[in-house]
């Protein structure tokens, strides 16, 4: 099963809307609580990242027949300049505007990696694709 959502650049007021829909869907299906919590946190953080840092893009939710889940966040740029730094807890390049909205604590990517079972990130100046995997019995 596939679902696809669009995320627009700098649309701070819609922050979390896609994650809410995805969370609602996964709850309706009836995933176990511990897994739901990890997926919700990862999805929310990744969605916020797209809004703050990227030029916009799509979020895809893929559910395999056996129940495994993939979330793919792909944007159109500008890419992450220094991935190693971005993966360091507390490091942030968020703009003043993003911080005014309470975002940009520098915990986004490290948090996402912590709660997901598979974490894969590809980045160039043309865009970033973050692929997260979740297992039923990790």
């Amino acid at each position: 099963m596939k679902m696809e959502f669009q995320v627009a650049r700098d649309d701070y007021l819609s922050a979390g809307k896609v994650s809410s829909q995805i969370k609602q869907t996964l709850k309706q299906i009836g995933y176990p609580n511990e897994l739901l919590r990890r997926m919700a946190v990862a999805c929310y953080e990744a969605e916020i990242n797209m809004i703050i840092h990227s030029y916009g893009g799509t979020i895809r939710l893929l559910i395999e027949e056996d129940g495994r889940i993939q979330m793919i966040f792909s944007d159109t740029g500008p890419g992450i300049a220094d991935l190693e730094q971005a993966m360091t807890p507390g490091f942030s390049t968020a703009s003043e505007k993003a911080r005014e909205f309470g975002f940009g604590a520098g915990m986004g990517l490290p948090n996402i990696q912590r709660v997901s079972d598979h974490f894969d990130i590809l980045t160039s100046h043309e865009g970033t694709t973050l692929t997260l995997g979740f297992e039923l019995d990790p």
Partner: protein, 393 residues
């Protein structure tokens, strides 16, 4: 847990208001009758509020059972006193309730106060924050049904009236068969007692609606007053303001909309900067309970006045045990693969339905209808909108 909402067919105008207002889609109309699904009903009472013809009601025990006990105790939660203008009137209320035929009246503020101290201790000891209050039965049911990811954040403290009843029972041994009657300020608390809704785990024998006994209480009330003293932190726990939790980052949310918004955010881990989420489904906390005869705003004024003279200390907090509510858990019968198949089937049906959520089929939403079609309980032709389109062709 059972639904305490009772339905009277002869009063029902089939207006569908209850169907629309139910936050958990527990209500369906089957063969022109309201049907309430106990597994989904959270006993919030919204359906009672919108029903103009008293087709839906929340009733508690009567007092006829007083004769079945050797010694009877009336249990009064602090919220009840928000209906009285000052300490004198509060004492008159206690006396009037005693005159209903009780051997003893226990007002709970000193126990509720001690519970607040327990809450504070629990928050300080906790590794994961925020913790969530466990005192509103509606919120607890809502979390169980809709926000199960947060279940392990609920405080491990029982309902104050349950804790109070337990204490009273141990302290009144030797008095024969003790009957504890709790006067409830909201419909959801009616479900907690042994009677009338059969919660066999409870230490409370009977849950009584304070509102239903108001005419009698008023008739019995005069200038004579019991000597009572109220406890500040206990009284406060019936509203949204908790001085006892000073120094902690507490988020207080009341009413359905706020509570749901808070729970949504908490699921994303976006409220982790708070120590404690104090949640109440009624406006302004328990003083907004719909079985009270005042309104939640006047109640707040009254409470402020009462706080001026509330000097009684809380009981020793070591008397308050930790431990969660006894709730029957729903077992998961389907595997995730089976759940996925069902979900996809429901989605396929959804594509054919109009998405109006008109309620004409008797279900609150098209999704609810689709679930019933997918499991073979309804047919697509039961959708009145589709049937109308068919006729036009």
């Amino acid at each position: 847990m059972k639904s305490v909402i009772s339905y009277t067919l002869s009063h029902c105008q089939k207006c569908l208001k209850c169907l629309k207002v139910c936050p958990t889609e527990a209500i369906t109309i089957v063969q022109e009758r309201v049907h309430i699904d106990s597994r989904r009903c959270i006993n919030c009472g919204h359906c009672i509020e919108v029903c103009n013809t008293q087709g839906l009601q929340g009733k508690g025990s009567t007092l006829v059972d007083l004769d079945n006990y050797d010694y009877t105790v009336a249990l009064l939660p602090s919220a009840l006193f928000s209906c009285t203008k000052n300490a004198k009137e509060a004492a008159q209320l206690v006396e009037a309730i005693r005159r209903l035929g009780f051997d003893e009246v226990v007002e709970m503020s000193a126990i509720e106060g001690a519970i607040q101290h327990r809450v504070k201790q629990r928050i300080k000891d906790a590794v994961m924050h925020p913790l969530i209050s466990s005192f509103c039965p509606v919120v607890n049911r809502l979390i169980r049904l809709r926000y199960p990811m947060l279940l392990d954040r609920l405080l491990d403290l029982d309902y104050p009236n349950e804790i109070a009843a337990d204490l009273i029972r141990t302290q009144r041994t030797g008095k024969g068969k003790v009957g504890i009657f709790c006067f409830c300020e909201c419909v959801s608390k009616l479900q907690l007692a042994r009677y009338p809704y059969g919660n066999r785990h409870s230490q409370i024998d009977h849950a009584v609606s304070i509102g239903d006994h108001f005419p009698l209480i008023r008739a019995l009330k005069d200038n004579e007053a019991s000597s009572i003293e109220l406890c500040r932190s206990g009284l406060e726990s019936a509203s949204l303001h908790h001085d006892a939790l000073k120094g902690l980052k507490v988020l207080e949310a009341d009413g359905q909309d706020k509570v749901q918004q808070v729970l949504e955010l908490a699921e994303f881990g976006q409220l982790d900067q708070f120590d404690y989420l104090s949640l109440s489904f009624c406006i302004n906390g328990c003083i907004g309970g719909r079985l009270l005869w005042g309104n939640p705003f006047e109640a707040e004024l009254h409470l402020k006045k009462l706080l001026e003279t509330a000097k009684k200390p809380a009981v020793d907090e070591d008397l308050i045990p930790f431990g969660s509510h006894q709730e029957e858990s729903v077992s998961d019968l389907l595997t995730i693969q089976e759940k996925l198949k069902l979900f996809e089937k429901v989605n396929e049906v959804m594509e054919k339905l109009p998405h109006f959520d008109c309620g004409a089929c008797g279900f609150a939403s098209c999704r609810n209808m689709a679930e019933n079609i997918a499991t073979g309980k309804r047919k697509l032709t039961d959708c009145r909108v589709l049937r109308n389109d068919e006729v036009k062709k």
